[in-house]
Amino acid sequence: MAKILLEMKNITKTFPGVKALDNVNLQVEEGEIHALVGENGAGKSTLMSVLSGIYPYGTYEGDIMYNSEVCKFNDIKDSEAKGIVIIHQELALIPYMTIAENMFLGNERGTKFKINWNETSELARKYLDTVGLKDGTQTLIKDIGVGKQQLVEIAKALSKNAKLLILDEPTSSLNETDSKALLDLLIKLKKEQNLTSIIISHKLNEISYVADKITVIRDGSTIETLTKGVDDFSEPRIIKGMVGRELSDRFPKREHHVGDEVMMEVKNWNVYHPLYNERKIVNNVSINVKKGEVLGISGLMGAGRTELAMSIFGKSYGENISGQLFINGQEVHLNTVSEAIKHKLAYVTEDRKGNGLILSNPIKINTTLANLDAVSKNKIIDKDKEYAVAVDYKNKLKTKATTVEQNVGNLSGGNQQKVLLAKWMFADPDILILDEPSRGIDVGAKYEIYCIINQLVADGKSVIMISSELPEVLGMCDRVYVMNEGRIVGELDGKDATQEKIMTYILQSSGNKEVKNG
């Protein structure tokens, strides 16, 4: 048996209110490709952040043993010094610098006062050759494609003397050919340089192709480790490990209020990326939602769900949007957010801190922001009325705060989510699009949010719930669309839906069909 390069023992990491990792154990042998799989939010990325020192020693419990010694990393520099290099999902390259400059950023050749550009280019060339990238070292990053950028990242890691390479969804933005090339490169590096890698991916076909071992993480704990040649590496087997949990009573009892009238219908909806106009983000999507229905849109991160919702909501995302939108049977053209609000549409963002709330302002100001006219006369705000409204919603949604004068920045995630819901409920919509309404909040608050959703549909509103958490989709929705890579790839009735079915829809429609099990 080969030497154990890395062992993570009983790692526990808590964030305020959430236990992200609970006694995780991971063993990686030298010279293997080890895959980490699990649903969104299972804790894969958190685990890798602990390993690479992004969460420094002391902020987590448990030990990291690397080369048989205990590591106490304070930051990413410490872990890199040991040869542990992480490549994030979002590439960290600077577009207007050359490949060589990017590769040695923070690790410059030469002295503090004089960068040795010759050495830089020479070394860059050497590592680019290793990864099989033929472009010149002086090419600007912005001029090469994402696939090549990923190779630059790997070359950069090699230049840091990487012994253990961590790749967080390396192929998520790559096409089939580039993905295949990348995976083959990892295998080649393993064989030639005995390089160990940990790869996080949702693309199970790729994982079965490239990995020697697979560790499944679910709800912050390690479930099992599968070994190639010993265990079954098939997709259904992996999926079972990923989702095989019991649905307990984490959801309130549901009554069905679904009416016959279609509240909103989207037909042949297409959206392109705002910067890269040739990239189609939403591809010919047609969906509808009925009165009193909780409609789920399931899928992985990056499936285009948020983009679909925002493009419907007054074209707040995307370019060249085409398709038809009907509300209450009437075709409407919503070009601005305020038109969308006027047509009784609301979009509750997934990113409550970035796109939803004004953290430096109190609850009452956030509550009324989307419908200020309702608390003002001739554009003059009736502050007493505003206060009353905020208090009313605070009580209705059981928001925990001393007063409505409290800044939302000081509230917990669950309470911030309630303020955000209050804001959009006050805008008096008929259709609410809730984007990941329970992300990052604890179980108790989740339950309360679900109760609010049930109340909304009981009042005759329609709710579209975008969620990456399968149990939540199953526990809450009357009907589920499955979205992947910009397309609707499946539609399920709430009663028939299972986690396996949804996962299968997603995985079967994923692009890289050419990469077959090796």
Partner: protein, 396 residues
Amino acid sequence: MDKDQVLGFLKKNTMIIVLIIVVAFFSWRTGGAILLPMNVSNLISQNAYVFILATGMLLCILTGGNIDLSVGSVVCFVGAVGAILMVNHNVPIWIAIIVMIVIGTAIGAFQGFWIAFVRIPPFIVTLAGMLAFRGLSNVVLNGLTISIKDKTGFVNLFGGGADCYIHDFFGNGSLNLTCLLGGIVATAVFVLLEVSGRIKRSKKNYELENFAGFLGKLIVISLVIIVFSYKLAQHKGVPTVLIWVMVVVLVYGYITNNTTVGRYFYAVGGNEKATKLSGINTNKVYFLAYTNMGFLAALAGMVTIARLTSAQPTYGQNYEMDAIGSCFIGGASAYGGIGTVPGVIVGAVLMGVINLGMSLMGVDANLQKVVKGIVLLAAVIFDVVSKRGGKMIAKN
């Protein structure tokens, strides 16, 4: 009061406390000269432009720490055009006033267009404006000074010079009773509004600040108004320019505090994306901030030439810095979204007092700049560090 309350009180009223300390310091060092009626009156007349410009600057800063560097040059340009019209072309005063307002607002709208709709960084647009309008002022004036001394109607209207005071209707010469009466009426109105507001709130069971604090605030502010008007009454009465300043402060104080538009300025600075997704046209908010800045720069331009009874190509230099400094000293956040008109006025008064006090002490003008620079830096450091929970060094 427990420790938290004391700390909260100190934090909320830091600049007022600093202002009191600074006034006390200067009245000690100048043997009370800084509190002489004449000097109090001068403080207003000399700094009127700062109050007006700082109020406009606050709106720009609220949108996200954006500043307007061009205001000094716009003040000069608008003043220059007005003086030329009145003196060289004998245009009636009221037409000249309208033209000046229109030009100032148009300049603001022009810059606002690039900033708001084309999204050119405000620093660049207004830097360009600062250069261009300084140059244009020179062109318009041919590099000369134009005196508007004999346009007494204009000079008296916008205050500043020797006789620009509100007429004393009941006066007997020594004490300006109109002024004192005005102060008393203002105090009464203020107390009435506060008390009735509190009664209304308590009837509806809304949250109230504690009674001692409320009473203390009421007494202190009333006293300040009365003493202030008494001081002015001892020296010729209310400078006309004070009326303009008060109108600007009250109107903009009201707008920022009570109107939907005012709310938008804070919202954009607090979180632009969230504001956009709430259906608010954020481009328009930026546009409004800079257009309004142009409008107030025009008003400041009129006040400036009236005070100096002339127009010169060098007027208005560094006015933008006075306005920006007042905002930050007065508690506006350098990142936007936070700041109030009363706060900015306190900031402007603090700067004015430091100026006046040091001049009375005979401190060298260059050293005065050093002190002002230190005060500005200290104020913003305090703001940033206290928001970080007292940690001096930012996390890397």
